[in-house]
């Protein structure tokens, strides 16, 4: 094994941003025919390392060799020319072009100067067949396929260029179980054909299922390189967060809360009857009581986010009614919802949450400032106090209120967005996938926080793709299937399997 030259070898890599050392003396090796998982918490430097390898960032020091050859990647194009291909979480193809145009974009076979469309079609069919995608019509629009298939098509493009290295950055975060299996079959195929695959994911089980080796980073430094079969899950987690096992076990047991009382004698904070919106969701009957956590369970695309948006007025409901504290209300806009003390953390942090070019302070104060109106600026002194308080309470790092929020890691951005709402002291907080794509440490912190807020009397609508998480936190679980609410389960020792059965069967 030691005789083999790695496909990619990165030695002593350092990258710094103003005020942050993103990577410091990191070594990384990638061999032919292996699936190598890059592990670490958010902000550990995984993305930075990938961006160094793909030429998005220029390294400050260190060396990169590809097949023993010294390389300097100053642009993504240089990295691609060296045979390194990347498939990102968000598919970066052109949705308005066809499958074949995407697969062969820029490298179409030509005949007498013009594109040979027959050749394009047959070449695309070949590549798709290699990936068991025979059912995909090369002439169909990319946008007509699911994200999962789009991702596989992005991989098809890498296969077509004969990439030696394939980087998959969180490829499974929006796939369901079947789609993940399909993706893994393709990954194994490529591995057996000698492609070196770098795999990044927050799903530990998937990492253990697919990877042969892993490199663990923490705080921009290398922790070590391990064979997957030699490292236990607990071992990996403690290496990632650098804490002792006992502390970890304690974190895991965190939520044990007396369930909120609900019943006819208490008025629910919010009560929806037959709530719906044409073309979106329908038939939502849901009450949330003060001090209660209600979970929304359902498959991706079942309509969970759509329901959250109706409660928050981000979309206008056109069926049914909403009562807030027993009074019938129409929630026509986010602003109207905020005035009724409702807050909403969107699942799409980047597009619907962050104001990237503004500081942590401005992002944190935004909702409160918006509800006060532009004329009444919150005095700087008050801002400083609130921001300092929430940075400390939520352990936001770096603890610098003037840092631009887009330079923070995902977990810390999420905490700032949570703080944006907490500062307005809402009575109902809607959290849509608040723990997606963030590391275990931040995840546990957020789960604990949800518990604490509910204990203090806040109503919480909690949405997550992880059923375990939903069950651990919720007093009741509403099951959403095919854009309707199909069941409501009181969470008394309900197991994941029970909920799965309801989702599968759809009967109460």
């Amino acid at each position: 094994m030691n005789e083999i030259v790695p496909v990619v070898e990165m030695t002593d890599i350092a990258i710094g941003f103003p005020g942050v050392k993103a990577l410091d003396g990191v070594n990384f090796r990638l061999f032919q025919g292996e699936v190598h998982a890059l592990m670490g918490e958010n902000g550990a430097g995984k993305s930075t390392l990938i961006k160094a390898l793909t030429g998005v960032y220029t390294i400050d020091s260190g060396t990169i060799t590809v097949l023993g050859e010294h390389k300097q990647f100053s642009t993504p194009a240089a990295s691609q020319a060296a045979g390194i291909s990347t498939v990102y979480q968000e598919v970066n193809l052109c949705p308005n072009l066809t499958v074949e145009e995407n697969v062969l974009l820029g490298r179409e076979p030509r005949r007498r100067g013009s594109i040979d469309w027959k050749g394009v079609r047959s070449r695309t069919r070949e590549v798709l067949a290699e990936l068991h995608l025979n059912h995909v019509d090369p002439g169909s629009l990319l946008s007509s396929h699911s994200i999962a298939v789009q991702q596989l098509i992005a991989i098809a493009r890498s296969v077509e260029i004969n990439a030696k290295v394939l980087i998959l950055d969180e490829p499974t975060s929006s796939l369901d179980a079947d789609e993940v299996n399909q993706l893994f079959r393709v990954i194994r195929d490529l591995r057996d054909r000698g492609v070196a695959i770098l795999f990044v994911s927050h799903f530990l089980e998937q990492v253990y299922e697919i990877s042969d080796r892993m490199t663990v980073l923490r705080n921009g430094k290398l922790v070590g390189e391990y064979l997957t079969r030699d490292l236990s899950r607990m071992g990996l987690i403690s290496k990632m967060i650098g804490k002792e096992m006992e502390a970890l076990a304690e974190l895991d047991q965190a939520p044990a809360r007396t369930r909120a009382r609900t019943g006819s004698e208490v008025t629910p904070f919010v009560e929806a009857r037959g709530l719906g919106r044409k073309g979106s969701v329908s038939n939502v009957d849901l009450s949330i009581y003060p001090g209660e956590v209600v979970g929304l369970a359902g498959l991706l695309g079942a309509g969970r986010t759509e329901i959250a948006r109706l409660f928050f007025g981000a979309d206008k409901a056109d069926e049914g009614s909403i009562r807030v504290k027993g009074v019938s209300q129409r929630i026509r806009s986010p602003r109207a919802a905020i005035d009724k003390r409702i807050g909403f953390c969107s699942e799409d942090r980047k597009e619907e949450g962050l104001i990237g070019d503004l500081s942590v302070r401005d992002n944190l104060m935004l909702a409160m400032q918006a509800s006060k109106g532009w004329a009444r600026r919150i005095p700087r002194r008050v801002q400083d106090e609130l921001v300092a308080e929430y940075i400390a309470t939520l352990d936001i790092r770096p603890a610098n209120p003037d840092a631009l929020i887009r330079n923070l890691s995902g977990g810390n951005q999420q905490k700032v967005l949570l703080a944006r709402w907490l500062i307005t002291s809402p009575e109902l907080l809607i959290l849509d996938e608040p723990t997606r794509g963030i590391d275990i440490g931040a995840k546990t912190q957020i789960q604990k926080l949800v518990n604490k807020l509910a204990t203090e009397g806040m109503s919480i609508l909690f949405i997550s793709s992880e059923l375990e998480e939903v069950l651990r936190l919720s007093d009741r679980v509403a099951v959403i299937k095919d854009r309707e609410m199909v069941a409501e389960i009181k969470n008394d020792d309900v197991s994941v399997e029970d909920v799965m059965t309801v989702i599968a069967g759809g009967t109460q």
Binding site: P18, Y57, L358, Q369, A375
Partner: protein
């Protein structure tokens, strides 16, 4: 020094200083000021006075651009404001009285307010793209101004009115004082209140801003009204300076100069972070360029080319890509001292 160079205003200030220096070399009395009849005279004063309308309009344009918008109608608003005030004075029974002049100013500002409300309505409520929405008034506005003046150049003789564009107060031209006052007002309005931050939030991420409870409609309305009022005041200055309203030529192409001033000053056309001070410097650069052309005796045929070169240079100096390239060229001989990429 390094942190000073990272300041967004560094390059515009350097460019302006270089231009002024160039003039000083060719005309040794360029930077000198002298007192005459209690008025301050000098090339710098001339530049500021001639640039005042552009600066005013560029201030309004900055806030519009910060919200991801653009206001092409400012030139037309200049014409309408001038036409309305001059037509009022010409038609009034006492065309020389101070009350008439005051009424004329009021009418012009109200006209600006109304036109701004119209633009803001189209953009924020109807949802028309800003460039199209303001294009409507840009073309229709000249027509409105013509209707008001009856297609003639309306001359007025009212000394009070004339002093807006050509008068002096505390040794300085009134137009400079008005512009300075509007600048201070805009700076205070945006930074003392939360308006500045909310404008930037809407410009950077409108979707997230809405979900944070921001009423972006009001914000957008405010910036278009402010822009049109600035243009109306500029219209007063221009018409009072020549004591006439010219519906066809007043403020012609001034929207282009204003947009250019915003960009040179360092505010991105993509919206978001903006700098009012940068805009003022940008407008100065444009105005100084015009003066430089005369100072250097550049033949009129190549004047526009010369201007374009300077503008391109300043814009390039601000572009992160070009700056990185420049830096890597500088840093190449000694790789040990490589600077970090600015984010």
């Amino acid at each position: 020094m390094k942190s000073l160079m990272k300041n967004r205003l560094a390059w515009p200030v350097i460019a302006l200083a270089a231009l002024l220096l160039l003039n000083q070399i060719f005309r040794p009395d360029f930077l000198s000021l002298r007192m005459q009849d209690g008025h301050l005279y000098g090339s710098i004063i001339d530049i500021m006075r001639n640039g005042a309308p552009t600066i005013l309009i560029a201030l309004g344009m900055t806030l519009v651009i910060a919200t991801r918008g653009i206001d092409l109608s400012v030139g037309a608003v200049v014409a309408i404001a001038g036409a309305a005030s001059c037509a009022y004075i010409a038609a009034s029974p006492e065309p020389a009285s101070p009350v008439t002049a005051a009424m004329a100013v009021l009418i012009a500002v109200l006209a600006g307010l109304l036109l701004g409300v119209w633009n803001g309505f189209l953009v924020s409520t109807v949802g028309v793209q800003p460039i199209i929405a303001t294009l409507v008034l840009m073309t229709a506005g000249r027509g409105i101004a013509q209707l008001i003046t009856g297609g003639q150049i309306v001359s007025v003789s009212n000394d009070h009115y004339k002093s807006i564009g050509a008068g002096y107060l505390f040794t300085l031209p009134v137009s400079i004082l008005i512009t300075a006052a509007v600048f201070v007002l805009a700076a205070v309005l945006t930074r003392r209140t939360a308006l500045g931050i909310l404008i930037e939030a809407v410009g950077i991420n409108p979707v997230a801003s809405r979900l944070a409870g921001l009423r972006s409609r009001n914000i957008i309305w405010i910036v278009y009204v402010f822009s049109a009022v600035c243009a109306a005041i500029a219209g007063l200055m221009i018409s009072s300076n020549v004591t006439a309203a010219d519906a066809n030529n007043a403020g012609l192409y001034i929207e282009m100069d204003a947009i250019l001033a915003v960009v040179i000053g360092g505010t991105s056309l993509a919206g978001g972070r903006y700098t009012l001070a940068g805009t003022v410097i940008g407008a100065f650069i444009i105005q100084t360029l015009t003066t430089t052309v005369y100072t250097l005796g550049i033949p009129p045929e190549v004047t526009l080319v010369f201007k374009a070169l300077v503008v391109i240079t300043v814009c390039l100096l601000q572009a992160p890509k070009a700056r990185n390239l420049l830096r890597s060229l500088k840093a190449a001989p000694k790789p040990g001292t490589k600077e970090k990429v600015a984010i």
